[in-house]
Structures are given as structure tokens and as C-alpha cells.
Subunit: 142 residues, 2 copies
Amino acid sequence: MTRKRPPKRRSGCPVNAALEMLGDSWSLLIVRDLMLFGRKTFREFLASGEGIATNILADRLAKLEANGIVTRQRDPEDARRVRYRLTEKGIALAPVMLEVAVWGATHEKTAAPPESIRRMKDERDRVLTEIRAKWEAEGEGA
Amino acid sequence: MTRKRPPKRRSGCPVNAALEMLGDSWSLLIVRDLMLFGRKTFREFLASGEGIATNILADRLAKLEANGIVTRQRDPEDARRVRYRLTEKGIALAPVMLEVAVWGATHEKTAAPPESIRRMKDERDRVLTEIRAKWEAEGEGA
DNA sequence: CCGGATCCGTTTCGATACTG
DNA sequence: CAGTATCGAAACGGATCCGG
């Protein structure tokens, strides 16, 4: 007689809706790797410097895919390789990512290049445009 | 011989730094309650609709306070009451909050008033100014 | 009543070893 | 390379209790 825990309550608040998917320590870091650092493979995410475990990474990638934030496809050139890519919904997180980076750099001790943070603040729209352009360019080869 | 888990690895990435504090399902919801909904007391957070447990809420408030995002003070009028308030560092999360709300409203099913979301997109700077002004006004009475 | 703290079962996380 | 399997540790969460 294992008593089940009731499902998490859902509110219609968009902030809550977003946090249902992104409210953990790893998901947004994977999105960051894809969006800002050009990482695309399981191994590259693993080497990101934060030390995520393989099972957790696999789990989060599956959830991100299930939520339509990333897509997963085998490399036609090298069948061992799997390439992850942000969807339209995923790249739409760019403004969130920018603001999080700016807040973190402003209020915490970080090793971020001051110049890149300055650009995120002062040339916000331009940086966003560049991120999207880069993402679209990468999509060409897919 | 209880083997302890090694401490979480820290990278200098500002996104990671921010997620150390905000990378869970509840912390940002509490900030939202303070920032957007004018909630200030333990009881009001509890009634927020998402059903947080009292022990979790107490834990998150303590962490947010330890991280300098909220302050805590007893109500001089009613000694039973405790008022929480965003710090400068906390109100600086407004741009993050806005972008999260916009993303959630755009890509998930939510009950957010379309008009308020439209304003967050089209009149971003004005909305941010209003949030800060309201926060400063509330501070007067403290 | 308000703002928690404690207890304790359930669930998730996470390090490591292992597999296709 | 890209993941599973395992299993102990830690976090969560519901109920309940407590000091003011």
C-alpha cells in the first residue's frame, strides 16, 4: 500500500509554468551550453566545468526534448555522435539567459569577461540578434 | 563511516552563479510574490496557489535572506507578524522575472492576462521602472 | 492566530561502474 | 560516444507540534 504523493499543483502563472521546466540547477546550464558556448554533444556538456553526472545529464536532455526545448539527432557522418540543438522555443530563452548572466555577473563573484557582460547590458538587442543569427546559421547544416 | 558527498563544483560562469541560488522550483516564485503580487508575509506566500510546505518555505526564505535577496523584520504594530522585503539585489531580478514571465506566457498554457504580458514585451522599460517605483514606495513605510 | 521547527516516509539526486 | 544500472545520500513534502 504505497501511498502516492499528490501531483504538484499547477497555477496558471507563467512564471510557475516556466519553472516547471527550468526550475532546477541543470536544465538552464545545458541551454546555456547550447546557446552561448556552441556545445552540441553529450560529451561536451559533460566537460562543461560544472561536473554534471551522466545519468542526470541524460535525464535532463530527455526532459528538455520532451518539453520541446531541444531536438536530438544522430550525426549522419558519424553514427556514434548525437547532436543536440535548440528549438525555436529553446532559442526564445535567450533574453532570459542574458538577464540571468547579467544579474549573476553584477551581484556575484564570477569569472565572466567584463566586456561581454557590458555588451549584454548596453547592446542588449544587438547581442540577442547575434545569438539568433548564429543559431540559424548552425541550423543550415542540419 | 558515512561517506559525504563532495561539495558542488563551482564554475566562474555568471549563469551558474545565479543558479546556485535560484535553481530550484520555489525561490523564484517567492521573489515573484514579493515583486509582482505584493505579498509580504509567510502566510501570504503559503497561500500563493502553488502549495509550498511550511518547512520548505521557511528554508527558502532563510536561504534568500542569507544570500542577500530578501530582508526579514517583525512588524512593529503586530509582533506576531513578520514582513519580508526584497533588497536592492532582489529587486534587480526584475528583468529576469519579466523575461521568464514572457517566455512562459508565450510558450506554455497560462492564465496570465494577455494585456499584462503584452506590456512586458512592448513597454519593457516602463514596466521595469514601475516595478522599481512601487518597491521604493513600499520601502518608505518600513 | 503567526511563523516556523520537528518528525518521518517518499522521491530525487548524484557518483561510479558498466553497457551497446 | 552516449548513455543505463545501482545504490547510498540528500532533498522534498505532509502532518503535527511549539513558542510567542
